[in-house]
């Protein structure tokens, strides 16, 4: 609680300094708008920001869902079949060397200007952290617990379902928390490259018309969206992993 108040105080102080600096230095709004102006724009352009924000939110959510499904399947396969891990791990690591910006135009070319390419961008960017976290979770299971399940005569599926899956949950949520934060990057990059809606599209349009205040308003909405998604993950984490000491307290 104390740390929350402290961060609010720091954030408030930062905004006040920003506001004062803009007025004192007489900076033009198209270079750096003051926070008060950004707030006014958010209020005035709320329907526009909400419409584009909703499109980005859907892309992030669907991208996250797609990525989680793929990550669960791949991490489970790599854990149960070590040969699959040996074969796939180098490819997985190598895939991280590909810059996301290089992929975006290709995905737009393949999937078009619609939501598909943005959903896939968001999925691609978060797939790695979720898969690696989950695999790490499976592998960190106490060997004595595995011995216990073996003694109970539990088969692979039962052991996976009753032991490894719940054991890996704190790791999974740790990965998911990071993922939803960065998923916005994937979706926005996709929108920059080619789209007709979304906060990334709005930012490009506003920037071209020197509407820096609207760019900042879009960034503020995007940040709020990321924080909201982070909070949702934290809520489900607390519900699902109530037994863990590592549950995020934010």
């Amino acid at each position: 609680m104390k740390s929350r108040v402290l961060s609010l105080v720091f954030f408030g102080a930062f905004l006040l300094f920003w506001e004062f600096f803009c007025h004192a230095a007489e900076i033009q709004p198209f270079i750096l708008p003051a926070p008060s102006r950004i707030l006014r724009i958010i209020a005035e352009e709320a329907p526009l920001l909400l419409r584009h924000g909703a499109a980005t939110a859907i892309e992030i959510l669907l991208g996250t869902a797609l990525s989680v499904i793929a990550a669960v399947i791949l991490a489970a396969a790599m854990f149960i079949f070590p040969a699959a891990e040996k074969a796939l791990a180098p490819l997985l690591v190598a895939s991280q060397a590909i810059p996301v910006f290089a992929l975006a135009p290709l995905l737009v070319a393949w999937l078009g200007y619609g939501m598909g390419s943005k959903i896939l961008m968001a999925a691609v960017i978060i797939f790695f952290p979720v898969t690696v976290s989950l695999l790490q979770g499976f592998k960190s299971c106490d060997a004595d617990l595995a011995r216990l399940f073996s003694a109970m005569g539990a088969g692979t599926w039962k052991t996976f379902r009753l032991l490894y899956w719940p054991w890996a949950m704190p790791y999974f949520f740790a990965g998911l928390r990071v993922a939803v934060s960065v998923a916005a990057i994937g979706a926005v990059i996709g929108e920059w490259v080619g789209s007709m809606r979304g906060l990334g599209f709005l930012m490009m349009q506003a920037n071209a018309r020197l509407r820096t205040d609207l760019v900042f308003a879009s960034i503020a909405v995007l940040s709020a969206l990321s924080i909201f998604l982070w909070k949702i993950v934290c809520f489900f984490e607390k519900k699902c992993v109530h037994w863990s000491d590592t549950t995020n307290s934010l």
Binding site: L145, A151, M152, P166, W243
Partner: protein
């Protein structure tokens, strides 16, 4: 009764378990006393069929079997309770991996909890209970394996002196009331002397049976038995001799 005949196991041409044999009657507790790292975990893995052995045979009540999986319960120094399950769910786990526990299974678990001093704790999670309560829950789970053999891997090494005393009594209950045949690996000479019917002193690298001692004194009279003190000193001398 259980009989292990000439178990051997090597890893990378290094003999880890060398020609190890053991015979234990039903309802007895056999302590395997050896230094840390003598190969006890490998031995338990061989017994449970988690790894294959190079040689040797295993008999249960005169019938040869490949391993003890499904026939032996396992209790280690860690309580090994799953933190996402309540104490009751943890105790019922050996049943839950096979089928959904029935009302009579749950009743049996509750009766065991009462016997072990855990009445009313069934809905608590492991992080809410003391180490001693967690170990008693582990004991309830061990009983609910419903197997004739119990493998104990240093079951008391992680508890305080008072809890250890309570758990010793509960372990004897497991042997006498539930007629389990217990194989206990320990490096605590006192645990072995107070609880076991026979003690096998192990040597390490490779693990072999160095000497077998029978403890004929009734368990309730052991605390003050001077002959046990002599045995304790002899065992300690043997173990130290090996170390030096």
């Amino acid at each position: 009764m259980i009989e292990i005949r000439n178990f051997t196991k090597s890893f990378h041409n290094r003999l880890v378990i060398g020609d190890f044999s053991l015979f234990a009657r039903e309802g007895t507790l056999t302590a395997l006393l050896g230094p840390s790292g003598c190969g006890k975990s490998t031995f338990f893995d061989l017994l449970m069929g988690n790894i294959s052995r190079d040689g040797g045979k295993l008999f249960l009540s005169g019938k040869e079997i490949p391993h003890l999986k499904g026939t032996a319960a396992y209790m280690s120094q860690k309580d090994l309770l799953l933190p996402w399950l309540t104490l009751r769910e943890n105790a019922l786990l050996p049943i839950a991996v096979k089928k959904t526990p029935s009302a009579s299974d749950i009743r049996e678990a509750e009766e065991l909890f009462e016997l072990l001093g855990l009445s009313g704790s069934g809905d608590l999670y492991p992080r809410h209970v003391s180490g001693g309560m967690a170990q008693r829950c582990t004991l309830a789970r061990t009983i609910l394996f419903r197997t004739p053999i119990v493998l104990l891997d240093e079951p008391f090494s992680a508890v305080d002196a008072i809890t250890r005393q309570t758990l010793r009594s509960l372990l004897l209950l497991l042997r006498s009331r539930f007629r389990k045949t217990l194989l206990m690996i320990t490096h605590d000479v006192e645990d072995a002397l107070l609880l076991a019917d026979s003690i096998i002193i192990l040597s390490s690298a490779p693990m072999t049976a160095r000497e077998k001692l029978a403890i004929p004194t009734p368990k309730e009279n052991r605390q003050g038995d001077p002959s046990l003190q002599e045995k304790k000193e002899r065992i300690l001398a043997m173990l130290q001799e090996k170390v030096s």
